[in-house]
Amino acid sequence: MTAAALLEHYSKLKEEALKKKEQEQKQPLIMVGTASCGIAAGALEVKEAFLKEIKKHKLQASVQEVGCMGYCYAEPIAIISKPGFPPLCYGNVDEGLVKLLVQSFLIEDDPCYEYALVALEPNDIFPTFSDFPRGVYEHKIIMEHCGFIDPEEIDHYLVHDGYAALAKVLSQKPEEIIEIIKSAKLRGRGGAGFPAGIKWEACRKAAGEEKYVICNADEGDPGAFMDRSILESNPHQVIEGLAICAYAVGASQGYFYIRAEYPLAVKRVQKALQQAREKGFLGKNIMGSGFNLEIEIFQGSGAFVCGESSALVSSMEGKMGLPRHRPPRLTSSGYRGKPTVINNVKTFSYVPAIIRKGADWFKSIGTEDSPGTAVFTLVGKVKNKGLVEVPMGTTLRQLIFDVGEGPPDDKQFKAVQIGGPSGGCLPESALDIPIDFDSLKEAGAIMGSGGLVVLDEDDCMVAIARYFLEFTQQESCGKCTFCRLGTKHILDILTDITRGEGTMESLQILQELAEDVKDGSLCNLGKTAPNPVLTTLKYFKDEYLAHIMEKRCPALMCKEITLYYILPEKCTKLCNVCVGSCPTEAIFTREDGIKVIDQGKCVKCDNCRKTCPPEHDAVVKLSPAILPEEGGEKK
């Protein structure tokens, strides 16, 4: 099939989509962000409210569901496009705001700028993304359309050159496609950063006719949700990337391996696959090219270890998700023993743009060895939480303090946890390292799937390390000795330390064991599991020592060595808020009217400290757990 014929075929489809879009733009359009996080914040109620108000006022306007644009802290979010105005984005929308917007903006042409977050197109009235610090650093490639198109509407993707890359490659030789991806130096976004082009080439060259392509959407890192967000916001982009890969390696069957915990992502991908089939982008003889491709969804059953490629394949074959020794690599012996490419959601998402705009364009963004962008979930103690896409090479400081605007409530930044359970905690002094695969690895963390949790002075680094080890220990498949038993002993030692029961000897064993688990484990889950321990030991040893030597948790987070105390000089005696807030009736009133906590009953739930009126602020946490008056230790 010639390139011209393919282009003609594609152009027709795009033409239809554009016409439909034009029709849509003639009347006001309201877009509500309904990815999982938006829905949890009440987006569906917002959508209903818009529909109700529009009906009530008998207006000509349509309401659409779109995905997530990454401004999670402002959910629910709505975008209103009205002819004559730039499209405007509103945050924290509730029913009251809906009523106001419909009345003032839709009916009376007053866009209520005081409630608007940002305008989506350049204009001379209201600032756009690029006018904010975040906009300066952000460079969206794979999130470009997320939150601005209806993920359940293939035409919306087509309008933005969707499937143009697929139409383009089908007239080219598969080897040429692999060459482009190799030359673009696209590295796998699943964690380790293996070059995608080299993986594809190995699969292409592997013997055998039957080959498979799998999109790994078994996102399991606690604190990371970008894969979910992309699948919920722009599933066609991932499908197109996967289809191009399938064509390049010579596969006619592809799979999406999606966590069962992501029902909305499953639903939207399902719908997208069906639409792609209807338009002829999937199925037999795609766009008349002779290329066949079917894509199915496989739902993961809740095992973190299945994010590891060989375990993922094993679970697809109806077995326990146990990793195996490699080689043989999956590109020579993968699913059903056949050559298989497994790439992450984000990796596939870059492919259409690279094909359309070229390898040089891609390499012009980011750093030399890690071109392109990085997508992070910026969460934890940071003002602007959300999904961020920045060029590789941006520093952690820029990301946390400029894009995220640092910790809220004037708290002191302490560390940033990158890469989830396989990553590490980096201190203030490491904030100027550029974000790329190699620099992060050198610092002891990893890019991982891009979870980025900001920690402040209230977060205990030993407790954080313990939290991650508890996670890996629970998620270990149990196959190999180091991971099954090593992580258990690491966890036990950490638990002792957080309880003030650690010793210098156990600290030494902790260090040795963590190193051995890293070197001795079978798969990457085990090999990286000690990273949270090794990095905190490296950068925050003083906190370990405070727990061991003084039984003191500097962040006042470890319950066993911290107690709650009501400062008599601050307690007003008159209010009873703390007494009422206590779930275990541990607070009583002393004869002199001062409130006192019965340490034996206190479960340290923090309720009293939160509810004590700020003008008194009488409840404090103390570590070591020694009451000031008596001076005696209490547990």
Binding site: S36, C72, G220, P222, G318, V379, F468, V603, N607
Partner: protein, 182 residues
Amino acid sequence: MELLKGEKEAILKHTKEIFQEFEAKRENLIPILQEVQKRLGYLPRLAMQKIAEFLGIPPVDVFALATFYNQFRLNPPGKNEIKVCMGTACYMVGGKIALESFERRLNIKEGQTTPDREYSLERVACVGCCTLAPVVVVNEQIEGKVSPTRVDGIILSLQGEKSKEGEEANEDTKEKLKGEKQ
């Protein structure tokens, strides 16, 4: 776990229907288990045996998967399923406190079901709504920013719904629970 009256028939009926949708191939084992659990709420022993028969594999191989993956449960769940997210972001801002509050209020530990089978409590890995931390999933509905006070609110509203359902539904469950054990 003893089967309730009529449960055996239900298991046989559902597995039979499910087997018509799938080829008898080992790689369909997880999808089949998912479908069985979707319909029956858990994986009864009898269903696992039937699946093994259908696929021509030893029952112990089915059991292996049922016990390996988090998603599968071997015991019936509570009517209200409460899952507390233990992702990093949630843990940092009080996920554990929320979990402990539920444990105290329901008088069960995580992984357990109340004796009246009304509530079951679980911890889950990140549900991907980190910006709303701490997050709790109540009957598939995501609740954000769950403080101990909110925990009380959630339980109250579930109890409210229960009484709203009216006597009819209640009678029905009681009947079921009373039903002769097989």
